[in-house]
């Protein structure tokens, strides 16, 4: 999808939308999956990696709620924050979409995208997030 002029991903090359996918890499040498995609493997240093789209679902591994806007944050509070473990064995730090009392360890989570906020140029920024 080509975003219109007023809506852009908060960062290029880290996630895709429609459908939502995290853009990672798989190492040919140590076989670990990494995220975000770098030009080498952050676990063994190998330069032989294959770009992959990561699974769009996983299990909740940790969660909290951010109540006060951290430095540079463009969105509203509160918002969910946690770690989701994907079937590839990689644990991803992520925003979470729903209130804390819905969450439990191992709960199935699905990937989506959401608007974060508006940058100083009036552009609506989007990011990925997981929800139950």
């Amino acid at each position: 999808m080509t975003p219109d002029a007023q809506t852009q991903p908060v960062v290029d090359g880290v996630f895709a939308d429609d459908p939502a996918r995290l853009l990672g890499a798989r190492c040919e040498l140590c076989e670990q999956t990494s995220f975000p995609r770098l030009d080498g493997c952050p676990y063994c240093g190998s330069e032989t990696i294959t770009p992959v789209e990561l699974s769009d679902h996983g299990a909740l591994w940790g969660w909290t709620t951010v109540l006060h806007a951290p430095p540079g944050y463009l969105g509203s509070v509160p918002y969910g924050f946690g770690i989701v473990e994907l079937p590839e064995g990689v644990r991803v730090v992520t925003r979470l979409a729903v209130p804390e009392d819905w969450w439990s360890f191992g709960q199935p989570m699905h990937l989506g995208t959401a608007e974060v906020g508006v940058d100083p140029d009036g552009v609506v920024l989007t990011t990925w997030e997981f929800s139950p």
Binding site: G62, T64, P70
Partner: protein, 385 residues
């Protein structure tokens, strides 16, 4: 106590500017106060100039050539002055460089100092890319909260246990005139402070603040009577951990990944020729209450899962078997990043000299200091007397 024939290094002077908020003082002024006190304590007077052959300054937020400004104000320049940034371990990194240079025979006397004037509120860090800030992924307390939640789940700990760490450290801080908070608290009072990020309440997190600390190291003689620096070790993280202070965006199963604090502790114990069972008193990184409890096991001071029992026993309290954070820890003192590791060393030298006053750990002969923070960086320092 060392098992090798290394060049011995003594701590011959210590100095501290109290930790707190000082609206009318610059970071340079605080650094000057700490260095002046350390030089005086070392017996290096104004006629003995410059008095040391090199200086290492730990700081993260003080700007370009911050150490030079301090020593310029003291008219003690001309030697190499190196500013060192290693996050919360900046002072530990400076200490490592100084001790290594003395052991290598490069210098006889080296000044080590650290100072900071932290911005208020959640610390903004150039560590995070702007897009991570925009998306809300640079929420430092949230990373602490996730680590606390995991530790609680894996070690059978509750929020009450986290509050007990705060109660312990604040009860020590009451006795420390250099601490920011010098008042007792209770489990109920800690849990009544607002939630910052579940499970962490406001008083379970240390306050970034201001202060400075300094030590003077000298090549030791056989039995100088001074406190001896047995080991000053710095380590960084190994790849893979999602919950470590490297704060990556992703990690893998980290059950087999040795954390940087353990890497540093193991190396420091080996260098000093001792084990954790020999340590009498500890200053341990308590950025948040759960961070201290994790540190206990990372440093080999407790069996994983034994934290609740130790808290209940009082062993880690002043008067207990092995007091941890007798200074009150960062939870009482606050955390001026570049000064915090050397502030620990100042406290432990006082303990080993038996000049710690009301918070003296009686008979302390072996002391260990630990910091860990962004990078990730971890430092472990072992002192004996």
């Amino acid at each position: 106590m060392s098992t090798t024939n290394r060049v011995p290094v003594d701590v011959i002077g210590i100095g501290l500017h109290p930790f707190g908020r000082f609206e009318d003082r610059t970071v340079t002024e605080m650094g000057v106060a700490a260095v002046r006190a350390a030089l005086h304590d070392a017996g290096i007077d104004s006629s003995d100039r410059p008095g040391f052959q090199a200086a290492f300054c730990g700081t993260a937020y003080s700007g370009v050539a911050a150490g030079h400004k301090v020593l310029g104000a003291l008219a003690r320049t001309g030697m190499p002055i190196v500013d060192v940034e290693a996050g919360c371990a900046s002072g530990g990194a400076a200490l490592m460089l100084a001790a290594s240079a003395i052991r290598a025979g490069q210098y006889d006397t080296v000044l080590v100092f650290g100072m900071e004037k932290m911005p208020r509120g959640i610390i903004r860090s150039s560590f995070f890319e702007p897009w991570r800030e925009h998306a809300g992924l640079a929420a430092t307390p949230a990373y602490f909260a996730l680590r606390a939640q995991r530790l609680m789940r894996e070690r059978g700990l509750t929020k009450e246990h986290l509050a007990q760490v705060v109660v312990k450290n604040r009860s020590h801080g009451v006795l420390n005139p250099d601490a920011m908070y010098q008042s007792e608290t209770s489990v109920d009072a800690v849990l009544a402070t607002r939630v910052v990020c579940e499970p962490l309440h406001l008083h379970m997190l240390c306050s970034p603040n201001e202060g400075a600390a300094a030590v003077v190291l000298r090549r030791g003689t056989g039995s100088s009577g001074a406190v001896r620096l047995e080991a000053a070790v710095l380590r960084s993280h190994l790849p893979g951990s999602v919950l470590g202070e490297a704060t990556p965006l992703a990690g893998i199963d980290d059950s087999d990944i040795t954390p940087p604090s353990t890497l540093a502790a193991d190396a420091a114990y080996a260098e000093a020729g001792i084990g954790p069972e020999d340590v009498d008193v500890v200053e341990c990184q308590d950025t948040d209450a759960a961070r201290e409890l994790l540190g206990w096991e990372e440093l080999g001071l407790c069996v994983p899962g034994d934290q609740a029992r130790i808290l209940a026993s009082g062993d880690a309290n002043l008067g207990g078997a092995r007091p941890i954070n007798p200074s009150g820890g960062l939870l009482s003192k606050g955390e001026p990043l570049g000064a915090s590791a050397l502030g620990q060393v100042v406290e432990l030298v006082r303990q080993l000299r038996s000049t710690a006053g009301a918070r003296q750990v009686h008979g302390a002969r072996v002391a260990l200091a630990h910091t860990v923070g962004r990078g990730a960086n971890a430092s472990v320092t072992i002192l004996t007397h």
